[in-house]
């Protein structure tokens, strides 16, 4: 899940022209190519079919209904093309949207970020590449809001374990988590093992279990 320097071919769906042009410029500056920039969900589906991009970046609310068309299109795209990385930019701190997205497919290669995050240019690009590489990224703000709830099954977790799970949900690797919490990577591994145990997720393919843990977290 480390950052790659490769150039990504991006399909961008955003109805605000100002923001669309800004994002194209931002991505181009860091070596990514926006192969298509569209303003609605139908355009998004057509552009993905035509360009077969490395990643889709889409807004939630788009024409014609200005409801959750962008999110619906992303979910549908992932149903058609399993594993297509999708990064959803949202204006809402709402786990319902994030959970819908993670439910589509196996939960890898998806991201749900607040639009505010594009202002944190480097963070945003970091999340973009992590999602393109198959990672799962949930906006720290959404994660933070969920942290305020103390309910089963997360109740069984210690505060430190909850902290670790939050960072996992944000899409960080064990190494990155160790660096942030100023502990060894082995300690992080042990915490994650405990978390998976307490959340009743038996050993299987490791990244998948991480995603399941995040999903549990989001639904809690």
């Amino acid at each position: 899940m480390s950052r790659t320097a490769r150039s990504l071919r991006v399909v961008l769906a955003e109805d605000s022209v100002l923001l669309r042009e800004g994002l194209i410029g931002l991505l181009a500056r860091f070596g990514h190519e926006v192969v298509a920039a569209v303003g609605d969900a139908d355009g998004l589906r057509a552009a993905v079919a035509e360009h077969d991009p490395d990643i889709v970046v889409t807004d939630v609310r788009m024409p014609p209904g200005f409801q959750d068309e962008g999110l619906r299109a992303a979910v549908a795209l992932r149903a058609d093309r399993p594993g297509l990385p999708v990064l959803v930019l949202s204006q809402y701190v709402q786990r319902t949207y994030a959970a819908d997205l993670l439910d589509a497919g196996d939960g890898t290669g998806v991201g749900y970020l607040l639009k505010d995050r594009v202002g944190q240019v480097e963070e945003f690009l970091d999340a973009l590449t992590r999602v393109a590489d198959g990672g799962t990224v949930v906006d720290p703000e959404v994660v933070r809001q969920l942290l305020r709830r103390h309910r089963d099954p997360l109740e069984a977790l210690t505060p430190r374990e909850r902290e670790v799970l939050a960072l996992v949900a944000e899409g960080h690797s064990n190494g990155e988590i160790a660096r942030r919490l100023v502990v060894t990577e082995a300690a992080v591994g042990k915490h994650i093992g405990n978390i998976l145990g307490k959340l009743n997720l038996p050993p299987a393919e490791d990244t998948h279990r991480r995603v399941l843990a995040v999903l549990t977290y989001l639904r809690a």
């Binding site: 931002l26 809402y92 319902t96 202002g119 240019v121 709830r149 103390h150």
Partner: protein, 441 residues
Amino acid sequence: MEPRTPWQALTRGRYVRTGWPWRAVGYLGSGVVTGAIALAVLLLFGVLAVVLVGIPLLLLTALALGGVERRRLRLVDLDPAADPHRVPDAPGLAAWLRVRVREQVTWRELAYAVLHATVLWPLDLLVLAVALGLPAALLSAPLRLALDGQETKVVKAYLVTSYPQAFAAALLGAALLVVLLYPLGAFAGARAALSRALLAPREAELRDRIGEVTASRARLVAAFEAERRRIERDLHDGAQQRLVALTMTLGLARLDAPPGPLADQLAKAHEEAGQVLTELRELIHGIHPQVLADYGLAAALTDAADRSAVPVDTTDIDLPRLPAAVESAGYFAVCEALANIGRHSGATRARISARHAASLTIEVEDDGRGGATASISGSAAGSAGTGLTGLADRLAVLDGTLTIISPAGGPTLLRVEIPCPALPDRSASSSQRTASSSAKG
């Protein structure tokens, strides 16, 4: 109790010394005037009715006369006769005419107009002539004798030649006047009762009007909701997008700026723009949360629980999609309840349960210190009181009820009930998915 009609006045001892006889005279006198005018106008338009244009004109006359007569009724009937006509739904003459033509009262007014122009005002005149004219003729006997000098004929029958005779006639006239004022009052009362029967709203019409008031209140709330959404949309698609673009530009500029005071200033500006964005997001969410429109009440309640300062349990929520006004009212009721719990209750936990059978029932329970019922009257914690009262008003428009069970020492249970049907369509299936995913936790 003061008399309110001539009939009531007649049964009291002091009828003649009150103003009632004169009110009756005024009523009948003005009736002669309006009736004579009505007759002239109806004759004119009746002729025109032969070439069709007269028919709407006849109706207009009847409507106008109805209004005048209802006002005139106040002379002898202290209980006002309300205008029984409905307010048209749409502006414009066509809509107005459509409503009027369909109203039963319009045709009652036409019937009254015809009756008034042909029968009633001549009767008024006759009663006035007898009850006032006869005594007046007798009373004026001395005066006329003085003018003539020799003799005068009273009521065209009796020849009066001397002052004693004349004064006797005058005395008789005065007595007659007092006596005749009674049948005059009785007639005016009957006349007023007839007018009221034809021109005042009937019970069914009053009932319709109450329905109309409720409907207009509901329309007002709907308009308020629509305005909320418009403001949310404007902020979301306008200011918020521009701010995101601004923070993005500032973020890029920070990457380019060499270290130094300029970079520091950019960092500060960037941070502030980010804070404004966060504040704006919260503001927009408070106006109308998008999740309510997209996923419905179940998801929105879970979201409200996420934001609550006090931990909230939401495992017991199972709802289909409901009418937008109901979802909105339910959501804001819970938000208000959670805000109160956070502010006043001292609770450590809360629980939201919601289900839908024939009506939506939401319960919000907390383990706080209770006593929230007192504040509903606004006496204690002011903000909580007004909030809960506002809630009750809002629910009342939807025929909903708010129940608060909050003994001192707690716990507090707030129950919202709104009768409504579930919405059957594609949005119902999407909410089922949401409800089941939130129930899993």
